[in-house]
Protein backbone atom coordinates (compact mmCIF):
# COMPACT_ATOMS: atom_id res chain seq x y z
CA UNK A 1 0.00 0.00 0.00
CA UNK A 2 1.38 3.36 -0.95
CA UNK A 3 0.09 6.09 1.31
CA UNK A 4 2.84 8.63 0.90
CA UNK A 5 4.44 10.26 -2.09
CA UNK A 6 8.13 9.65 -2.57
CA UNK A 7 8.84 13.33 -1.88
CA UNK A 8 6.98 13.14 1.44
CA UNK A 9 8.91 10.05 2.46
CA UNK A 10 12.26 11.55 1.51
CA UNK A 11 11.48 14.71 3.48
CA UNK A 12 10.38 12.65 6.48
CA UNK A 13 13.60 10.64 6.48
CA UNK A 14 15.59 13.81 6.03
CA UNK A 15 13.95 15.35 9.11
CA UNK A 16 14.45 12.24 11.25
CA UNK A 17 18.03 11.78 10.13
CA UNK A 18 19.03 15.40 10.64
CA UNK A 19 17.68 15.41 14.20
CA UNK A 20 19.48 12.14 14.89
CA UNK A 21 22.75 13.41 13.42
CA UNK A 22 22.45 16.58 15.48
CA UNK A 23 22.21 14.46 18.62
CA UNK A 24 24.82 11.85 17.81
CA UNK A 25 27.59 13.94 16.25
CA UNK A 26 28.09 16.36 19.19
CA UNK A 27 28.10 13.50 21.68
CA UNK A 28 30.53 11.35 19.71
CA UNK A 29 32.76 14.38 19.13
CA UNK A 30 32.67 15.13 22.86
CA UNK A 31 33.67 11.57 23.80
CA UNK A 32 36.47 11.40 21.21
CA UNK A 33 37.83 14.82 22.22
CA UNK A 34 37.97 13.73 25.86
CA UNK A 35 40.71 11.28 24.86
CA UNK A 36 42.88 13.96 23.22
CA UNK A 37 45.34 16.32 24.93
CA UNK A 38 44.52 20.04 24.74
CA UNK A 39 47.00 20.83 21.96
CA UNK A 40 45.65 18.08 19.74
CA UNK A 41 42.05 19.28 20.25
CA UNK A 42 42.97 22.79 19.17
CA UNK A 43 45.10 21.72 16.21
CA UNK A 44 42.93 18.93 14.79
CA UNK A 45 39.45 19.50 16.16
CA UNK A 46 37.66 16.96 13.97
CA UNK A 47 40.23 14.17 13.93
CA UNK A 48 39.81 11.08 16.10
CA UNK A 49 42.48 10.79 18.82
CA UNK A 50 45.95 9.79 17.59
CA UNK A 51 46.32 7.63 20.68
CA UNK A 52 43.94 7.06 23.57
CA UNK A 53 44.95 9.62 26.18
CA UNK A 54 43.40 8.88 29.58
CA UNK A 55 45.09 11.58 31.67
CA UNK A 56 42.22 14.03 31.09
CA UNK A 57 39.89 11.83 33.09
CA UNK A 58 42.36 11.33 35.91
CA UNK A 59 43.13 15.07 36.15
CA UNK A 60 39.52 16.20 35.81
CA UNK A 61 38.46 13.74 38.48
CA UNK A 62 41.17 14.80 40.97
CA UNK A 63 41.72 18.52 40.21
CA UNK A 64 38.02 19.17 39.68
CA UNK A 65 37.05 17.23 42.82
CA UNK A 66 34.50 15.38 40.71
CA UNK A 67 34.54 12.44 43.11
CA UNK A 68 33.04 14.56 45.91
CA UNK A 69 30.56 16.20 43.55
CA UNK A 70 29.53 12.83 42.20
CA UNK A 71 28.87 11.40 45.67
CA UNK A 72 26.93 14.53 46.65
CA UNK A 73 24.83 14.27 43.50
CA UNK A 74 24.00 10.67 44.36
CA UNK A 75 23.14 11.64 47.94
CA UNK A 76 20.86 14.54 46.95
CA UNK A 77 19.16 12.65 44.16
CA UNK A 78 18.52 9.48 46.17
CA UNK A 79 17.42 11.09 49.44
CA UNK A 80 15.27 13.81 47.87
CA UNK A 81 13.69 11.40 45.41
CA UNK A 82 12.76 8.78 48.01
CA UNK A 83 11.24 11.36 50.35
CA UNK A 84 9.43 13.21 47.54
CA UNK A 85 7.86 10.05 46.17
CA UNK A 86 6.79 8.84 49.64
CA UNK A 87 5.24 12.18 50.58
CA UNK A 88 3.59 12.50 47.18
CA UNK A 89 2.10 9.01 47.46
CA UNK A 90 0.70 9.51 50.95
CA UNK A 91 -0.57 12.95 49.93
CA UNK A 92 -2.06 11.57 46.74
CA UNK A 93 -3.81 8.84 48.72
CA UNK A 94 -5.28 11.37 51.17
CA UNK A 95 -6.39 13.70 48.39
CA UNK A 96 -8.03 11.03 46.25
CA UNK A 97 -9.64 8.57 48.66
CA UNK A 98 -10.74 10.55 51.73
CA UNK A 99 -13.11 13.04 50.08
CA UNK A 100 -12.69 15.86 52.58
CA UNK A 101 -13.46 19.38 51.48
CA UNK A 102 -10.01 20.62 52.52
CA UNK A 103 -8.56 18.10 50.06
CA UNK A 104 -9.83 20.11 47.11
CA UNK A 105 -8.19 23.25 48.43
CA UNK A 106 -4.89 21.48 49.11
CA UNK A 107 -4.90 19.97 45.64
CA UNK A 108 -5.50 23.41 44.15
CA UNK A 109 -2.59 24.78 46.17
CA UNK A 110 -0.31 22.08 44.72
CA UNK A 111 -1.54 22.85 41.20
CA UNK A 112 -0.64 26.47 41.78
CA UNK A 113 2.80 25.25 42.82
CA UNK A 114 3.32 23.88 39.31
CA UNK A 115 3.43 27.46 38.04
CA UNK A 116 5.90 28.77 40.59
CA UNK A 117 9.48 28.70 39.49
CA UNK A 118 12.59 28.32 41.57
CA UNK A 119 13.55 31.90 40.76
CA UNK A 120 10.49 33.43 42.37
CA UNK A 121 11.40 32.00 45.77
CA UNK A 122 15.15 31.86 45.69
CA UNK A 123 15.73 35.25 47.36
CA UNK A 124 13.47 34.63 50.39
CA UNK A 125 14.60 31.01 50.52
CA UNK A 126 18.21 32.09 50.73
CA UNK A 127 17.37 34.57 53.50
CA UNK A 128 15.28 32.02 55.41
CA UNK A 129 17.97 29.35 55.21
CA UNK A 130 20.65 31.79 56.36
CA UNK A 131 18.51 32.82 59.35
CA UNK A 132 17.72 29.21 60.26
CA UNK A 133 21.37 28.26 59.90
CA UNK A 134 20.72 25.58 57.29
CA UNK A 135 22.26 27.32 54.30
CA UNK A 136 25.42 25.49 53.28
CA UNK A 137 24.08 22.22 54.68
CA UNK A 138 22.80 19.13 52.89
CA UNK A 139 19.43 19.55 54.58
CA UNK A 140 19.19 23.04 53.07
CA UNK A 141 19.52 21.54 49.60
CA UNK A 142 17.33 18.49 50.06
CA UNK A 143 14.32 20.36 51.50
CA UNK A 144 13.81 22.64 48.45
CA UNK A 145 14.35 19.66 46.13
CA UNK A 146 11.47 17.90 47.89
CA UNK A 147 9.24 20.98 47.89
CA UNK A 148 9.74 21.63 44.17
CA UNK A 149 9.31 17.96 43.30
CA UNK A 150 6.03 17.64 45.19
CA UNK A 151 3.46 19.53 43.05
CA UNK A 152 3.96 17.44 39.94
CA UNK A 153 4.40 14.17 41.83
CA UNK A 154 1.24 14.81 43.88
CA UNK A 155 -0.55 15.44 40.60
CA UNK A 156 0.71 12.11 39.19
CA UNK A 157 -0.08 10.05 42.29
CA UNK A 158 -3.50 11.62 42.92
CA UNK A 159 -4.69 10.97 39.36
CA UNK A 160 -3.40 7.40 39.48
CA UNK A 161 -4.77 6.48 42.90
CA UNK A 162 -8.13 8.00 41.97
CA UNK A 163 -8.38 5.25 39.35
CA UNK A 164 -8.13 2.47 41.95
CA UNK A 165 -11.71 1.30 42.73
CA UNK A 166 -13.12 2.50 46.07
CA UNK A 167 -14.59 -0.93 46.71
CA UNK A 168 -11.12 -2.37 47.47
CA UNK A 169 -10.67 0.10 50.30
CA UNK A 170 -14.20 -0.44 51.60
CA UNK A 171 -13.88 -4.20 51.81
CA UNK A 172 -10.50 -3.84 53.55
CA UNK A 173 -12.12 -1.58 56.15
CA UNK A 174 -14.87 -4.13 56.72
CA UNK A 175 -12.13 -6.73 57.27
CA UNK A 176 -10.78 -4.49 60.03
CA UNK A 177 -7.79 -2.90 58.30
CA UNK A 178 -6.81 0.65 59.25
CA UNK A 179 -5.81 3.32 56.73
CA UNK A 180 -2.07 2.83 57.16
CA UNK A 181 -2.43 -0.86 56.44
CA UNK A 182 -4.51 -0.04 53.37
CA UNK A 183 -1.84 2.40 52.21
CA UNK A 184 1.07 -0.02 52.61
CA UNK A 185 -0.61 -3.27 51.61
CA UNK A 186 -3.04 -2.15 48.91
CA UNK A 187 -2.37 1.30 47.51
CA UNK A 188 1.44 1.03 47.20
CA UNK A 189 1.45 -2.42 45.52
CA UNK A 190 -1.33 -1.44 43.10
CA UNK A 191 0.37 1.86 42.26
CA UNK A 192 3.75 0.28 41.39
CA UNK A 193 3.70 1.33 37.70
CA UNK A 194 3.24 5.02 38.51
CA UNK A 195 5.70 4.78 41.42
CA UNK A 196 8.53 3.72 39.14
CA UNK A 197 7.67 6.54 36.72
CA UNK A 198 7.64 8.99 39.64
CA UNK A 199 11.00 7.74 40.91
CA UNK A 200 12.80 7.97 37.61
CA UNK A 201 11.34 11.31 36.63
CA UNK A 202 12.12 12.91 40.00
CA UNK A 203 15.60 11.41 40.08
CA UNK A 204 16.41 12.86 36.68
CA UNK A 205 15.28 16.33 37.72
CA UNK A 206 17.23 16.23 40.98
CA UNK A 207 20.37 14.90 39.30
CA UNK A 208 20.46 17.78 36.80
CA UNK A 209 19.39 20.56 39.19
CA UNK A 210 21.73 23.55 39.15
CA UNK A 211 20.49 26.91 40.45
CA UNK A 212 19.47 25.80 43.96
CA UNK A 213 22.83 24.23 44.71
CA UNK A 214 24.59 27.17 43.10
CA UNK A 215 22.88 29.75 45.33
CA UNK A 216 22.23 27.87 48.56
CA UNK A 217 25.72 26.42 48.96
CA UNK A 218 29.17 27.89 48.72
CA UNK A 219 31.29 25.11 50.18
CA UNK A 220 32.88 22.75 47.72
CA UNK A 221 32.29 19.73 49.96
CA UNK A 222 28.50 19.85 49.63
CA UNK A 223 28.08 20.99 46.00
CA UNK A 224 26.89 18.67 43.25
CA UNK A 225 28.04 17.57 39.81
CA UNK A 226 26.39 20.26 37.60
CA UNK A 227 28.05 23.01 39.66
CA UNK A 228 31.33 21.10 39.58
CA UNK A 229 31.21 20.71 35.81
CA UNK A 230 30.31 24.36 35.40
CA UNK A 231 33.52 25.34 37.17
CA UNK A 232 35.46 23.85 34.25
CA UNK A 233 34.02 26.51 31.98
CA UNK A 234 35.72 29.70 33.04
CA UNK A 235 38.54 30.50 35.36
CA UNK A 236 39.49 27.10 36.64
CA UNK A 237 40.98 25.65 33.51
CA UNK A 238 41.39 26.58 29.90
CA UNK A 239 42.36 23.00 29.17
CA UNK A 240 39.78 21.73 26.69
CA UNK A 241 40.79 18.13 27.30
CA UNK A 242 39.86 18.42 30.98
CA UNK A 243 36.63 20.15 30.08
CA UNK A 244 35.62 17.40 27.66
CA UNK A 245 36.52 14.73 30.20
CA UNK A 246 34.34 16.46 32.81
CA UNK A 247 31.47 16.63 30.32
CA UNK A 248 31.82 12.92 29.56
CA UNK A 249 31.82 12.09 33.27
CA UNK A 250 28.63 14.12 33.65
CA UNK A 251 26.90 12.69 30.60
CA UNK A 252 27.71 9.02 30.19
CA UNK A 253 26.03 7.78 33.42
CA UNK A 254 22.86 9.64 32.41
CA UNK A 255 22.90 8.21 28.88
CA UNK A 256 23.13 4.71 30.34
CA UNK A 257 20.35 5.56 32.80
CA UNK A 258 18.30 6.83 29.85
CA UNK A 259 18.86 3.76 27.68
CA UNK A 260 17.70 1.52 30.56
CA UNK A 261 14.67 3.56 31.65
CA UNK A 262 13.70 5.29 28.40
CA UNK A 263 10.07 4.14 28.46
CA UNK A 264 9.56 5.19 32.08
CA UNK A 265 11.07 8.62 31.46
CA UNK A 266 8.84 9.05 28.42
CA UNK A 267 5.81 8.09 30.51
CA UNK A 268 6.68 10.69 33.11
CA UNK A 269 6.84 13.44 30.50
CA UNK A 270 3.75 12.23 28.67
CA UNK A 271 1.68 11.96 31.86
CA UNK A 272 2.30 15.61 32.62
CA UNK A 273 0.53 16.80 29.52
CA UNK A 274 -2.38 14.40 29.55
CA UNK A 275 -5.63 16.28 29.58
CA UNK A 276 -8.11 14.80 31.98
Amino acid sequence: MKRYSTVGKVLSYLLMISFTVLTVVPLVWMILSAFKPHAEIVRHPLMPPLSWYFDNFVLAWTQGHLGIYFLNSIFYSVVATVVTVLLALSGGYALSKFFYRSGKFIYMLYTLGLLITVHSVIVPLFIMETRLGISNTRLGVVLPYIAFGLPFQVFLSTTYIKGIPDSIQESAIIDGANYFQIFWRIIIPVATPIISTMFIYTFLGNWNEFILVLTLTSELSIRSLPVGINSFAGGMSRDYGLQFAALVIGTVPMIIFYLIFRDKIAQGFAAGATKE
Binding site: R3, Y4, K9, S12, Y13, F19, T20, L22, P26, L27, W29, M30, S33, I41, V42, P45, L46, L87, S90, G91, A94, F98, Y100, L109, L115, I116, T117, H119, V121, V123, P124, F126, I127, P144, I146, A147, P151, Y179, F180, W207, N208, F210, T215, P226, I229, N230, A233, L247, G250, T251, M254, Y258, L259, I265, F269, A270, G272, A273, T274, K275
Partner: protein, 295 residues
Amino acid sequence: MTFSRQKHLSYWAFVLPGLLVFVAIIIFPVVFSLSLSFTTWKGYGSPTFIGMENYAKIFADSVFLHSLRNNLLIVAISVFGQIPLGFLLAFLLYRKVVRHGAFYQTMIFLPITISPVVVALLWNQIFSSSGIIVTIVRAATKNPQYVMEIFEDKSLAIVPILFVLLWMHTGTYMIIYYANLQKMTPSVLEAAQLDGASEGQMFAHIILPSMVGTIATTAIFAISGSLKAFDLIYAMTGGGPAHFTEVIAIYMYVNTFKYYKYGFGSAVSIVIVVLAVGLILLLQYISGKIERKFE
Protein backbone atom coordinates in the same frame (compact mmCIF):
# COMPACT_ATOMS: atom_id res chain seq x y z
CA MET B 1 -11.78 6.37 69.21
CA THR B 2 -14.65 6.60 66.77
CA PHE B 3 -14.23 5.53 63.19
CA SER B 4 -14.69 8.96 61.62
CA ARG B 5 -12.16 10.40 64.05
CA GLN B 6 -9.67 7.73 63.08
CA LYS B 7 -10.31 8.54 59.42
CA HIS B 8 -9.79 12.22 60.02
CA LEU B 9 -6.51 11.69 61.87
CA SER B 10 -5.21 9.32 59.20
CA TYR B 11 -6.07 11.87 56.53
CA TRP B 12 -3.98 14.58 58.16
CA ALA B 13 -1.15 12.17 58.90
CA PHE B 14 -0.99 11.38 55.19
CA VAL B 15 -1.36 14.86 53.83
CA LEU B 16 0.39 17.08 56.39
CA PRO B 17 4.12 16.18 56.10
CA GLY B 18 4.28 16.99 52.40
CA LEU B 19 2.03 19.99 52.72
CA LEU B 20 4.19 21.52 55.47
CA VAL B 21 7.37 21.26 53.39
CA PHE B 22 5.56 22.65 50.34
CA VAL B 23 4.00 25.61 52.19
CA ALA B 24 7.18 26.46 54.10
CA ILE B 25 9.45 26.39 51.07
CA ILE B 26 7.21 27.57 48.23
CA ILE B 27 4.00 29.30 49.36
CA PHE B 28 5.47 31.26 52.27
CA PRO B 29 8.50 32.54 50.30
CA VAL B 30 6.24 33.67 47.44
CA VAL B 31 4.29 35.84 49.86
CA PHE B 32 7.56 36.97 51.45
CA SER B 33 8.93 37.80 48.02
CA LEU B 34 5.87 39.84 47.13
CA SER B 35 6.22 41.98 50.26
CA LEU B 36 9.99 42.37 49.81
CA SER B 37 9.40 43.63 46.28
CA PHE B 38 7.97 46.90 47.68
CA THR B 39 11.10 47.59 49.71
CA THR B 40 14.74 48.33 49.33
CA TRP B 41 16.92 45.98 51.34
CA LYS B 42 20.62 45.05 51.29
CA GLY B 43 20.22 41.86 53.29
CA TYR B 44 20.96 43.38 56.70
CA GLY B 45 19.10 45.90 58.86
CA SER B 46 15.42 46.27 58.18
CA PRO B 47 13.82 46.75 54.74
CA THR B 48 12.62 50.25 53.82
CA PHE B 49 9.22 50.53 52.18
CA ILE B 50 9.43 52.30 48.80
CA GLY B 51 6.10 51.39 47.19
CA MET B 52 6.20 50.67 43.46
CA GLU B 53 9.64 52.20 42.91
CA ASN B 54 11.36 48.87 42.14
CA TYR B 55 8.81 48.07 39.46
CA ALA B 56 9.17 51.51 37.91
CA LYS B 57 12.96 51.09 37.83
CA ILE B 58 12.71 47.64 36.26
CA PHE B 59 10.62 48.79 33.33
CA ALA B 60 12.84 51.84 32.79
CA ASP B 61 16.01 49.73 32.61
CA SER B 62 17.12 49.01 29.04
CA VAL B 63 18.96 45.87 30.21
CA PHE B 64 15.69 44.50 31.56
CA LEU B 65 13.84 45.35 28.35
CA HIS B 66 16.48 43.57 26.26
CA SER B 67 16.22 40.56 28.62
CA LEU B 68 12.45 40.59 28.25
CA ARG B 69 12.83 40.62 24.48
CA ASN B 70 15.18 37.62 24.68
CA ASN B 71 12.68 35.78 26.89
CA LEU B 72 9.87 36.45 24.44
CA LEU B 73 12.07 35.10 21.62
CA ILE B 74 12.58 31.96 23.70
CA VAL B 75 8.82 31.67 24.16
CA ALA B 76 8.42 32.11 20.39
CA ILE B 77 11.00 29.46 19.50
CA SER B 78 9.28 26.96 21.81
CA VAL B 79 5.72 27.70 20.74
CA PHE B 80 6.43 28.12 17.01
CA GLY B 81 9.52 25.89 16.72
CA GLN B 82 9.73 23.08 19.25
CA ILE B 83 6.00 22.38 19.41
CA PRO B 84 5.25 22.17 15.64
CA LEU B 85 8.47 20.24 14.96
CA GLY B 86 7.81 17.90 17.88
CA PHE B 87 4.28 17.36 16.62
CA LEU B 88 5.44 16.65 13.08
CA LEU B 89 8.01 14.12 14.31
CA ALA B 90 5.41 12.43 16.54
CA PHE B 91 2.95 12.27 13.63
CA LEU B 92 5.54 10.69 11.31
CA LEU B 93 6.36 8.11 13.99
CA TYR B 94 2.72 7.41 14.79
CA ARG B 95 1.75 6.91 11.13
CA LYS B 96 4.90 4.81 10.66
CA VAL B 97 6.03 6.92 7.70
CA VAL B 98 9.66 6.03 8.37
CA ARG B 99 11.08 2.64 9.22
CA HIS B 100 13.04 2.04 12.45
CA GLY B 101 10.90 4.64 14.22
CA ALA B 102 11.93 3.38 17.66
CA PHE B 103 15.58 4.12 16.88
CA TYR B 104 14.90 7.71 15.77
CA GLN B 105 12.64 8.21 18.77
CA THR B 106 15.39 7.10 21.18
CA MET B 107 17.96 9.37 19.56
CA ILE B 108 15.80 12.49 19.30
CA PHE B 109 14.60 12.20 22.91
CA LEU B 110 18.11 11.62 24.28
CA PRO B 111 19.15 15.26 25.00
CA ILE B 112 16.48 15.40 27.72
CA THR B 113 18.70 13.34 30.06
CA ILE B 114 21.71 15.59 29.73
CA SER B 115 22.08 18.33 32.31
CA PRO B 116 21.59 21.85 30.86
CA VAL B 117 25.04 22.77 32.18
CA VAL B 118 26.65 19.98 30.16
CA VAL B 119 24.61 20.92 27.10
CA ALA B 120 25.77 24.53 27.47
CA LEU B 121 29.48 23.71 27.71
CA LEU B 122 29.26 21.16 24.92
CA TRP B 123 27.67 23.65 22.50
CA ASN B 124 30.13 26.34 23.56
CA GLN B 125 32.84 23.97 22.39
CA ILE B 126 30.99 23.30 19.14
CA PHE B 127 30.71 27.04 18.47
CA SER B 128 34.27 27.81 19.64
CA SER B 129 37.15 28.62 17.32
CA SER B 130 38.35 25.02 17.56
CA GLY B 131 34.82 23.64 17.33
CA ILE B 132 32.97 21.70 14.67
CA ILE B 133 31.27 24.59 12.91
CA VAL B 134 34.23 26.95 12.63
CA THR B 135 36.53 24.15 11.48
CA ILE B 136 34.14 23.10 8.72
CA VAL B 137 33.53 26.66 7.55
CA ARG B 138 37.28 27.38 7.54
CA ALA B 139 37.93 24.30 5.45
CA ALA B 140 35.07 25.02 3.07
CA THR B 141 35.81 28.71 2.52
CA LYS B 142 39.59 28.34 2.74
CA ASN B 143 39.59 31.25 5.18
CA PRO B 144 41.61 30.22 8.24
CA GLN B 145 40.69 33.45 10.04
CA TYR B 146 36.94 32.71 10.19
CA VAL B 147 35.31 32.98 13.63
CA MET B 148 31.65 33.06 14.59
CA GLU B 149 30.82 36.73 14.92
CA ILE B 150 27.18 36.21 15.74
CA PHE B 151 27.87 36.35 19.50
CA GLU B 152 29.19 39.91 19.16
CA ASP B 153 25.97 41.20 17.63
CA LYS B 154 23.53 42.69 20.11
CA SER B 155 20.37 41.59 18.37
CA LEU B 156 21.60 38.24 17.00
CA ALA B 157 23.69 36.93 19.92
CA ILE B 158 20.67 35.05 21.27
CA VAL B 159 20.18 33.05 18.03
CA PRO B 160 22.69 30.25 18.77
CA ILE B 161 21.08 29.84 22.20
CA LEU B 162 17.65 29.56 20.59
CA PHE B 163 19.04 26.84 18.37
CA VAL B 164 20.43 24.90 21.34
CA LEU B 165 17.08 25.21 23.14
CA LEU B 166 15.38 23.80 20.06
CA TRP B 167 17.89 20.95 20.04
CA MET B 168 17.29 20.21 23.72
CA HIS B 169 13.51 20.30 23.91
CA THR B 170 11.99 19.25 20.58
CA GLY B 171 12.33 15.59 21.58
CA THR B 172 10.33 16.18 24.76
CA TYR B 173 7.37 17.50 22.80
CA MET B 174 7.70 14.66 20.32
CA ILE B 175 7.45 12.12 23.16
CA ILE B 176 4.43 13.84 24.72
CA TYR B 177 2.51 14.02 21.45
CA TYR B 178 3.49 10.50 20.47
CA ALA B 179 2.18 9.09 23.75
CA ASN B 180 -1.09 10.98 23.36
CA LEU B 181 -1.51 10.01 19.70
CA GLN B 182 -1.28 6.37 20.74
CA LYS B 183 -4.29 6.88 22.99
CA MET B 184 -6.48 7.69 19.97
CA THR B 185 -8.88 4.95 18.98
CA PRO B 186 -7.39 3.46 15.80
CA SER B 187 -10.81 2.49 14.41
CA VAL B 188 -11.60 6.14 13.66
CA LEU B 189 -8.58 6.46 11.42
CA GLU B 190 -9.19 3.07 9.83
CA ALA B 191 -12.76 4.03 8.98
CA ALA B 192 -11.60 7.31 7.48
CA GLN B 193 -9.00 5.48 5.44
CA LEU B 194 -11.64 3.06 4.11
CA ASP B 195 -13.74 6.06 3.11
CA GLY B 196 -10.81 7.20 1.00
CA ALA B 197 -9.54 10.05 3.16
CA SER B 198 -6.02 11.14 2.32
CA GLU B 199 -3.25 11.27 4.91
CA GLY B 200 -3.44 15.08 4.84
CA GLN B 201 -7.22 15.08 5.37
CA MET B 202 -6.92 12.71 8.31
CA PHE B 203 -4.23 14.92 9.79
CA ALA B 204 -6.27 18.11 9.45
CA HIS B 205 -9.73 16.75 10.32
CA ILE B 206 -9.15 13.96 12.84
CA ILE B 207 -5.68 13.99 14.36
CA LEU B 208 -5.09 17.71 14.85
CA PRO B 209 -8.53 18.51 16.37
CA SER B 210 -8.22 15.64 18.86
CA MET B 211 -4.85 16.97 19.99
CA VAL B 212 -5.81 20.61 20.59
CA GLY B 213 -6.09 20.06 24.35
CA THR B 214 -2.69 18.39 24.60
CA ILE B 215 -1.07 21.06 22.47
CA ALA B 216 -2.54 23.78 24.69
CA THR B 217 -1.23 22.03 27.81
CA THR B 218 2.25 21.65 26.36
CA ALA B 219 2.19 25.30 25.30
CA ILE B 220 1.60 26.21 28.95
CA PHE B 221 4.69 24.21 29.91
CA ALA B 222 6.59 25.84 27.08
CA ILE B 223 5.72 29.34 28.26
CA SER B 224 6.48 28.81 31.93
CA GLY B 225 9.62 26.87 31.01
CA SER B 226 10.78 29.61 28.65
CA LEU B 227 10.38 32.35 31.22
CA LYS B 228 12.46 30.50 33.76
CA ALA B 229 15.24 29.68 31.27
CA PHE B 230 18.37 30.09 33.34
CA ASP B 231 20.72 27.11 33.64
CA LEU B 232 21.60 26.78 29.98
CA ILE B 233 22.19 30.48 29.31
CA TYR B 234 23.95 31.07 32.62
CA ALA B 235 26.43 28.30 31.82
CA MET B 236 26.74 29.22 28.12
CA THR B 237 27.26 32.99 28.21
CA GLY B 238 26.28 34.18 31.68
CA GLY B 239 24.11 36.72 29.85
CA GLY B 240 27.06 38.32 28.11
CA PRO B 241 28.72 39.79 26.20
CA ALA B 242 27.49 43.13 27.57
CA HIS B 243 24.03 41.72 28.53
CA PHE B 244 23.36 40.72 24.88
CA THR B 245 22.07 37.26 25.82
CA GLU B 246 20.68 38.14 29.24
CA VAL B 247 17.23 36.82 30.21
CA ILE B 248 15.02 37.95 33.09
CA ALA B 249 16.06 35.13 35.42
CA ILE B 250 19.74 36.02 34.98
CA TYR B 251 18.91 39.72 35.42
CA MET B 252 17.26 38.81 38.72
CA TYR B 253 20.13 36.58 39.79
CA VAL B 254 22.81 39.18 39.08
CA ASN B 255 20.93 42.01 40.81
CA THR B 256 20.23 39.90 43.87
CA PHE B 257 23.35 37.88 44.46
CA LYS B 258 25.97 40.16 42.92
CA TYR B 259 24.65 43.60 43.91
CA TYR B 260 22.69 42.42 46.98
CA LYS B 261 19.55 44.29 45.90
CA TYR B 262 17.12 41.90 47.58
CA GLY B 263 14.03 44.06 47.22
CA PHE B 264 14.72 44.78 43.57
CA GLY B 265 15.47 41.12 42.84
CA SER B 266 12.20 40.08 44.48
CA ALA B 267 10.32 42.55 42.29
CA VAL B 268 11.92 40.99 39.19
CA SER B 269 10.86 37.51 40.28
CA ILE B 270 7.30 38.73 40.81
CA VAL B 271 7.39 40.16 37.28
CA ILE B 272 8.37 36.69 36.00
CA VAL B 273 5.40 35.07 37.75
CA VAL B 274 2.94 37.74 36.56
CA LEU B 275 4.24 37.45 32.98
CA ALA B 276 3.91 33.66 33.06
CA VAL B 277 0.38 33.75 34.43
CA GLY B 278 -0.61 36.47 31.94
CA LEU B 279 0.73 34.59 28.93
CA ILE B 280 -0.89 31.37 30.11
CA LEU B 281 -4.29 33.05 30.53
CA LEU B 282 -3.94 34.52 27.03
CA LEU B 283 -3.12 31.08 25.69
CA GLN B 284 -6.11 29.47 27.41
CA TYR B 285 -8.34 32.15 25.90
CA ILE B 286 -6.99 31.42 22.41
CA SER B 287 -7.07 27.63 22.73
CA GLY B 288 -10.62 27.81 24.13
CA LYS B 289 -11.66 29.66 20.99
CA ILE B 290 -9.96 27.10 18.75
CA GLU B 291 -11.54 24.18 20.58
CA ARG B 292 -14.99 25.70 20.19
CA LYS B 293 -14.36 26.16 16.50
CA PHE B 294 -13.68 22.44 16.08
CA GLU B 295 -16.80 21.34 17.94
